[in-house]
């Protein structure tokens, strides 16, 4: 696996010198294992912020970051599947709101906790599967199909609530968003961990995961291999709807209400998390766990810059810059791997 040390040569260093070797090793780590690289960035951020503020690197603040990252991280599970399949899901923020209001309305009507939770997930699955029908059977480009669904799901949330938030929820619903296990570990954090564990299992051990990657890598080859591609696209987008629905429940539980106008812009945050995690927008390549790390990086920047008292608008600038850097690294990675451009 002898490849030229691009960075080293670019800087005019001798690849055999200590600095050259270090750079070469770093370069290989980035290429061979993007997840390790993304985790390294997160640790570096934490290290820097802990030097800048005594309030940052505490157990409670780090847990707080995982809670702040939870909703985007949950959405990013399905988004990662969609992006791996070379698609994009712009409707997840609106689906989140649709799920949140459906679930809280069911609870408001007195049907109880279980019915409320199931209703929220079913609504997410329904809108997601509809995306899959549009992309798989009607051959609508994912960008357009999910942009349309973004309007439909948002309209649905506003219509059924007449634009008014739902504040009455069932007893015990607050645990999902606000609970703590043993008084310390936040329930949303555990929920995120659980969903990622399931997601990794599906991605690596099931046909759905295998075909998600192969569709993103070469849809035509997948089709001629006898795979029912449209059916799997329904499952992939359906999964994204389900994880957006679960995120909707978590958000509604955290704030104690179903907001028909909630979740605006979350689609972009979830895409940012996936891309910062190193999953390629060109499909077929990426890591699910790294999307969680991506969501943590975004939450860390928001949290850390808050702790430092940095003007909030600068956070947008920082997150935007990281996103562009992540895509640049992806380009460079594919170039080095000798993959297709």
């Amino acid at each position: 696996m002898a490849r030229p040390d691009l960075t080293t040569r670019f800087l005019g260093l001798d690849p055999k010198s200590p600095a050259g070797r270090l750079l070469g090793a770093a370069e290989r780590a980035i290429i061979e294992n993007p997840t390790v690289f993304t985790a390294g960035i997160l640790l570096l951020l934490w290290l820097i912020l802990s030097q800048l503020s005594p309030y940052f690197f505490t157990v409670s603040n780090l847990f707080e970051i995982t809670v702040q990252a939870a909703v985007i991280a949950l959405i990013a599970v399905g988004q990662t599947f969609v992006i791996l399949s070379k698609g994009i899901d712009l409707s997840v923020g609106a689906i989140l709101a649709a799920s949140a209001v459906t679930s809280t309305m069911v609870m408001d009507a007195g049907y109880g906790l279980g019915a409320g939770v199931i209703a929220g997930i079913v609504v997410g699955a329904f809108f997601g599967a509809a995306n899959g029908v549009a992309v798989g059977y009607l051959r609508i480009p994912p960008f357009v199909a999910t942009l349309g669904m973004m309007g439909i799901a948002r309209g649905y949330a506003l219509i059924i609530t007449e634009g008014i938030p739902i504040f009455r929820v069932a007893d015990g619903f607050e645990i999902l968003g606000q609970g703590r296990v043993w008084g310390v570990v936040p329930v949303p954090t555990i929920a995120t961990l659980g969903l990622y564990a399931i997601g990794v299992f599906v991605l690596l051990r099931t046909r759905l995961g295998r075909y998600t990657v192969s569709i993103g890598s070469n849809e035509q080859a997948t089709k001629v291999s006898g795979v029912n591609v449209p059916l799997y696209l329904i499952l992939i987008y359906g999964l994204s709807g389900v994880t957006a629905g679960i995120a909707g429940l978590t958000e509604a539980s955290r704030i104690g209400s179903g907001q028909p106008a909630g979740g605006v812009g979350y689609e972009l945050d979830s895409i940012a998390a996936v891309v910062i995690g190193g999953t390629s927008l060109f499909g077929g390549q990426g890591s699910l766990i790294a999307s969680w790390i991506g969501a943590l990086i975004i939450a860390t920047l928001r949290n850390g810059l808050n702790v430092l008292g940095v003007y909030a608008f600068w956070q947008l600038v920082a997150i935007g810059a990281i996103l562009i850097a992540a895509v640049y690294i992806d380009n460079w990675r594919r170039l080095r791997r000798g993959g297709e451009q």
Binding site: L204, S214, S217, N218, S225, G226, Q285, R337, E340
Partner: protein, 258 residues
Amino acid sequence: MSAPPLIEMRNIYKSFGGTHAVEDVSVTVQGGEVLGVVGHNGAGKSTLIKILAGAYRMDSGEIYMQGEKVSIHNPRDARDLGIETLYQDLALADHLDAVANLFLGREIMTRWATLDGNAMEKATREVIARINPNFVNLREPVQRLSGGQRQSVAIGRALYFDTKVLIMDEPTAALGHRETAVFKELVIRLKSEGIGMVLISHDIHDVFDLSDRITVMTNGRQIGTHRTAEVTKDQVLSMIILGKQPGEETAEDIATLH
């Protein structure tokens, strides 16, 4: 009459918009036989075999397998009949490894309905060892493999699954000299196993080396089919370029071919 042919395509038509890609073409393939299909660019060769592979649906025509009429509506139907295809562009998922590609669409599952990675890797090792013993990095994404290794994966599919008919569209186009020689040996071995093959190639020498019969197409039409032993390369070239039957060509025609 002897046994019916392994595959018979009868009066096949297919057009795309106004383009008549395949017009009234009929071919047969016997078990253990290689049928060469030749013709210039856009003659309709790929379209013809894609119909057999289930990638395109014909407008009209009939397909028989061992004398029985079959309907092939999608790639899965073709595979279920034992028809495998080596596509011109090899049709591999670049980011997946050789094991995943070999089993794509037909994964071995554990009894828990999960992918059985170990069983698939073991099977892939066995089948690849028969084709290309030097190819051992089966866990590398196939985009990092050589043309010959990629082709080994595609052929591996044909060998592993119970294949009766193997369709090969430009199988040597991406290969080097040595790899082409290995490929030719492999075709001869598959013939001896009774597999019927359809070979599309622009390389007239490959076609003469490997096929038992040759059919020539131009602009979607079939000029004719001949036993390889009964025609010369010049005659076949003349059929491709001038659309003339063997014996019709003049010395002058032959001269223009060279």
